[in-house]
């Protein structure tokens, strides 16, 4: 059930349909923005804590009292208070528009993420396709930022980002094809519903196709790391070579939009991984509560905890693996991941055929 349906049940029938759609979109986006902001603030703090503990430090400890929980809120306030520098030589419209596009596309992709049964901003039947398409629009914003700031570091970072994200789009698309084939659906919520069996443990990664699911998830996760520009693929903003990459010239609030986009994209990729491979909101024993008021909040909690765990794994990778060179990044994308992805699609389709002709499922 989408939010528009919910509103039309709630409000009197005299309200026209387009008003319902507009209202629904407004409410959905308000919720998404609030959610993404909280996720980003929490992830920044978590990242610093994880980094600290992996390197035998403590991370933020003072701001707010308990383990520095208010550190990222304080950072956010500081960023709003900072001067907004726009260079004299910069291409002003491009420079100003870039953060809006980057953050806007990252938030727009959240529309198709299913948090619990019925709790999905818009249950589009092309969910997977939509997310892949919209999240790759970020590249355009980054290119605008790099070109618009008229700085050599920024331009290099943006071009690297474009090349890298474009190359890893291919393995990402190929890796998403295996779950699409298995579920026979593009919709993320439908895929999550189909993993509800076995008392809530019939996840794709535990199903009879687990030997396809595991390599395809590894492929997806690697491509997702590159898509979100995370280490070991953080070439676009490698601080030892390119100062800060495409956002070198951004300061204050505009910089924080790029920062938020990074964490939003990380969470988005983890959410796709959770919905397709790790059973979405399904958890052993949760089905017992179905129909009670507790069910939906718990399902949302399960989904968020699962995807936050994947975000944690991304951070873990970042602080464990050293950065690789740009030619290694490109070679990995085209010479290893793409052939592996094509091979997996081939194997998966044959396996589906064998399953169908042997067992009729």
């Amino acid at each position: 059930m989408g939010i528009v349906q919910f509103l039309s049940d709630l409000l009197p029938e005299t309200i026209p349909y387009w008003a319902l759609v507009l209202l629904g979109a407004g409410i959905a986006f308000a919720i998404i923005i609030a959610f993404v902001s909280v996720v980003a603030i929490f992830s920044v703090w978590l990242e610093r804590k994880v980094a600290g503990h992996i390197q035998s430090r403590l991370g933020p400890m003072y701001v707010g009292g308990w383990h520095g929980w208010a550190q990222s809120i304080a950072d956010g306030i500081k960023l709003i208070l900072k001067e907004d520098v726009i260079l004299t030589d910069a291409d002003r419209p491009l420079f100003k528009l870039a953060p809006c596009i980057v953050l806007g596309t990252a938030l727009a992709a959240f529309v198709a993420v299913p948090f619990a049964p019925g709790v999905v901003p818009a249950d589009i039947n092309l969910g997977v396709f939509f997310i892949v398409a919209v999240s790759s629009l970020t590249t355009i914003g980054v290119l605008m930022a790099g070109w618009g700031s008229n700085n050599k570091w920024s331009l290099y970072g943006a071009m690297r980002e474009a090349a890298q994200v474009a190359s890893y789009e291919i393995p990402l698309g190929l890796s998403l094809m295996m779950p699409v084939m298995y579920f026979g659906s593009f919709s993320l919520s439908q895929a999550s519903e189909m993993q509800a069996g076995w008392g809530g443990l019939h996840w794709y990664i535990f199903s009879d196709s687990f030997w396809i699911a595991i390599p395809s998830f590894v492929l997806f996760f690697t491509a997702a790391l590159a898509e979100t520009k995370r280490a070991p693929f953080d070439l676009p903003e490698s601080e030892s070579e390119l100062v800060a990459g495409f956002h070198t010239e951004y300061s204050g609030i505009r910089f924080s939009f790029f920062f938020m986009e990074e964490y939003a994209a990380m969470y988005l990729m983890s959410a796709i991984g959770t919905a397709l491979w790790f059973g979405g909101w399904n958890f052993p024993g949760l089905y017992l509560l179905e129909g009670t008021a507790l069910f939906t909040p718990l399902a949302i909690a399960v989904f968020v905890v699962k995807s936050m765990f994947l975000v944690f794994v991304m951070m873990w990778v970042r602080w464990t693996v050293p950065r690789i060179r740009i030619d290694q990044v490109m070679a990995l994308g085209y010479k290893y991941l793409t052939p592996i992805g094509l091979f997996l699609v081939l194997v998966a389709s044959v396996w589906e055929y064998i399953k169908f002709s042997m067992m009729g499922v």
Partner: protein, 121 residues
Amino acid sequence: MAFVVINLIVGSLIRPKRKDEKGLEPYECGEEPIGGAQFRFDIRYYTVALVYVVFAVEIAFLFPWARVLKEAFAEPGIGGVALLEGLLFIAILTLGLAYVWVKGDLDWVRSFRDLKGKSEK
């Protein structure tokens, strides 16, 4: 978008505005920048973009096939054909990848000596 705009407005109300000439120059590690940054770029980026466009379109064609595969198996007389067609498509795709690979367009670092050697042949 509204969120971004609201934040920008709030920011513009409370942040300091101090403009000085040096602060508005591009950052190049303290050096005076030489020339603008909007110059022509290395051709290999465009090769990557071209290869990407080709593969992205192919993937866009493969997705619907993956989506309907299970339903196609259930239709009498279509199942095996659907599978074979998909496999043929992947085979052609692999052939294209192999061609680009052999041509050397997937190599990021290409020395000029290699390029010369190729053109002399």
